[in-house]
């Protein structure tokens, strides 16, 4: 053990080494102490509730009753429920429509905004405006504009001889409208990330590509797209994770109707929790949604990891 006496007796090199080791230990302790509150918060607000939900999914639980362990029975019931599978299919379709639609539109607009656009700041402000609108207000506004018989947009469509959008009776129309509203509302997020990424692409690399004979499309595909890929992946990943929880758009339009045909998983979960008070089933649904999110995110995370490694 290094006492002050032995340290004093040791040669200078040993003293310096021991001092450095001591410094490193102190520094490490300080690092742990500084990170500890954040880790504690993560454990308290994310990990523990997640574990609790996992445990609850193995129980039958409702208000006023003690939870009863049933093993995987909730998952079995879930997998045997055709409404769950329909909700899962709808979720898959809606999530992809929203994210890919947003990506295509966001990228297109971001590229457009790189060029010469009159009153560019105003146009960008208009593009970002939907993000400033409260989600529920935006959806209700769309709903009233497309209300059968009395909606403004319905009137315009009828005058143009295009008939009515049957979103209240046709589940395909409901899901399409919900996707459109979600794209309209969340487009600014994707646009902003991609626009910012595009502004960082060095002009000299693009000029070099053109000198090497690349056309505009080739330069975009082989240079620009590759350079903005990390930002693009982040945008896509975030939007997938958020879109899988799509709820308000469909709930405020039809509550998943008619005949639960336009229901998505978040609405299924809502019913189990707040209408049926079946917290075990609701937790099982939540766990399945989490697994789906991870499955969707995995390829993107892998790609991002590779990009980071390659960048490093």
């Amino acid at each position: 053990m290094a006492t002050p006496a032995t340290l004093a007796a040791a040669p200078p090199v040993v003293r310096r080494t021991r001092a450095r080791v001591g410094d490193r230990r102190t520094a490490r302790a300080i690092h742990y102490a500084m990170v500890a509150p954040a880790v504690a918060l993560l454990l308290a607000f994310l990990a523990l509730p997640a574990v609790y939900i996992g445990w609850l999914s193995l129980n039958v639980s409702t208000y006023g009753q003690p939870a009863r362990f049933v093993g995987l029975a909730n998952y079995a019931e879930l997998l045997h429920d055709p409404v769950f599978w329909r909700a899962a299919r709808n979720t898959f379709v809606v999530v992809n429509a929203i994210v890919l639609g947003e990506l295509a539109l966001g990228l297109g607009l971001a590229v457009l905004m790189q060029g010469r656009v009159p009153a560019k700041p105003v146009v960008i402000a208009i593009l970002l405006a939907p993000y400033a609108i409260t989600e529920s207000s935006g959806i209700v506004m769309w709903r009233y504009m497309l209300e059968p018989d009395v909606g403004m947009v319905t009137h315009v469509l009828a005058r143009l001889g295009l008939g009515q959008l049957d979103w209240s009776t046709d589940p395909v129309a409901t899901l399409s409208l919900a996707s459109l509203i979600a794209i309209w509302h969340h487009l600014p997020f994707t646009f902003l990330i991609l626009y910012a990424a595009l502004t960082t692409v060095p002009r000299d690399i693009l000029e070099a590509a053109r000198i090497d004979g690349a056309g505009a499309f080739q330069a975009f595909r082989l240079v620009t797209l590759r350079l903005i890929m990390p930002a693009l992946l982040i945008a896509v990943l975030f939007r997938y994770i958020f879109a899988i929880r799509t709820f308000a758009e469909i709930w405020l339009l039809t509550e998943g109707g008619p005949a639960r045909l336009s229901e998505v998983l978040a609405i299924y979960l809502y019913r189990e929790t707040f209408k049926y008070h079946q917290f075990g089933m609701a937790s099982a649904t939540g766990v399945v949604m989490l697994a789906m999110s991870l499955l969707i995110a995995l390829p993107y995370l892998r790609r991002m990891f590779r990009e980071v490694v390659r960048g490093g």
């Binding site: 409702t62 009753q65 059968p148 005949a259 008070h277």
Partner: protein, 425 residues
């Protein structure tokens, strides 16, 4: 002199106090009571020609009431949530019959004990059916406060415009008149003969029962596949396909139906009698004073259609802090005089004698019709653990039948197949 440690202690204590404030029972004022319910409960108890029913009780007990009001579903959800906590903040909660069930009975006080200790006068007057809606295993979990019983509302101006001399007297006439009342007005407004909310089976059940059918009987038999019920569903499907019901009917909620009636886009609807006030509200309606209400007409069997009713009742959570005081207020709100006052404020009275009150007769134009309807009214379903899920299944398959993706008979057979395992054995 204060040391740095003293100051830190003070800050820590203040921060802990602030964080625990909303949850700490000691931080709440001792003279405040919290009631969880719907806005109509507060309005019925405090606002209108009947005056504030709670005023005298509040003055006598030195208690202020804090009303937390929500939509129907959210009010029930919040009530259950508060009642299931180890220590709650709610002193009285209002529960609707179709959101309760035997599985929740343990959350609330057995009010028979309190009734024995400090009885509500003339308690026997409250109909047994209403008490049964909140009684599970012999335990009275809540005292009925309000009923919402359906009548048939109709726009008298539209009837006159279409040359219809009088409102329908039978269910067949309702269907025939609804077709006649579906028309485009000179100002371009499309009027639908019948508008109904399809957010739960409360309105469709009237037409199922009008045709001699039912969904779940009081002894928990699912009879929705029987000919009467299928006939009722078929009638609704026919009206929908003919455009008598609006195309977006399946997405309509109570508030949407109110808007339809106020804007003159709906000619008739079966909804609670007290909606009369909303439909005729001069501030919101284009037809104030022109929308009348009557008891539902005769069914196919020649008897009055058993109108749908629902019963809101007051429960005391097991975790309430001062149950004696909670019961005292429940008792006050249940007194015969309070019931009359609440009726004048727009409440559906749980004491039939309230309809005999001279002021009620004078101020509530639908009082006699509502009393008549109450005589044969029925709950949507009897209370049981899976009632909400069973009702959702009915609405899902009814939607399939209306969309013509399934024949009514097939759809109702499917309801029975899916609901049967959910019923109490």
């Amino acid at each position: 002199m204060q040391t740095r440690r003293d100051i830190l202690k003070g800050i820590g204590a203040a921060a802990l106090g602030a964080a625990a404030g909303p949850f700490a029972p000691t931080a709440r004022a001792a003279d405040r009571m919290t009631l969880i319910g719907h806005a109509v409960h507060k309005a019925a108890a405090t606002t209108g020609p009947g005056g504030d029913v709670t005023a005298a009780w509040r003055a006598k007990n030195g208690v202020e009431l804090e009303w937390l009001t929500f939509g129907v579903e959210a009010a029930n959800e919040r009530a259950m949530k508060e009642a299931s906590l180890a220590e709650g903040n709610a002193d009285i909660v209002f529960i609707l019959d179709r959101y309760t069930g035997p599985q929740y009975a343990g959350l609330f006080e057995d009010l028979r004990t309190w009734q024995a200790k400090d009885p509500i006068p003339e308690f026997a007057e409250i109909p047994a059916g209403m008490l049964a809606a909140h009684t599970f295993g012999g335990k009275l979990t809540a005292v009925p406060y309000r009923h919402a019983t359906h009548g048939l509302h109709y726009n008298t101006e539209f009837l006159a415009e279409r040359g219809i001399a009088e409102p329908p007297k039978t269910v067949e006439q309702v269907a025939a008149l609804a077709e006649k009342l579906t028309f485009k007005r000179a100002d371009g407004v499309q009027v639908y003969g019948l508008v109904m909310n399809f957010d739960d089976p409360a309105t469709p059940i009237d037409w199922i029962r009008a045709n001699g059918g039912d969904f779940i009987t009081t002894d928990y038999a699912c009879v929705i596949d029987q000919p009467g019920a299928v006939r009722g569903v078929t009638m609704l499907c026919d009206l929908y396909r003919k455009g008598v019901l609006p195309k977006n009917s399946m997405t309509l909620k109570t508030e949407d139906v109110t808007t339809f009636m106020q804007q003159g886009r709906g000619a008739m609807t079966n909804n609670p009698f007290n909606r009369y006030v909303n439909y005729n509200d001069p501030k919101a309606s284009r037809y104030p004073g022109k929308i009348a209400v009557m008891a539902l007409p005769l069914g196919l069997d020649g008897k009055p259609i058993p109108a749908k009713t629902s019963v809101w009742a007051m429960a005391i959570p097991r975790n309430a802090r001062n149950k004696e005081r909670s019961w005292s207020l429940v008792r006050e709100l249940s007194l015969p005089a309070s019931t009359v006052a609440a009726t004048l404020n727009g409440n559906g009275p749980v004491r039939p004698s309230a309809y005999e009150d001279a002021k009620v007769k004078q101020l509530i134009p639908y009082a006699a019709a509502e009393k008549q309807a109450l005589g044969s009214a029925r709950l949507v379903v009897p209370g049981f653990a899976n009632a909400a899920k069973a009702m959702d299944i009915l609405m899902e398959e009814l939607g399939n039948a209306m969309l013509a993706t399934k024949e009514p008979k097939v759809a109702m057979a499917e309801v029975k197949r899916r609901v049967q395992p959910l019923l109490p054995t």
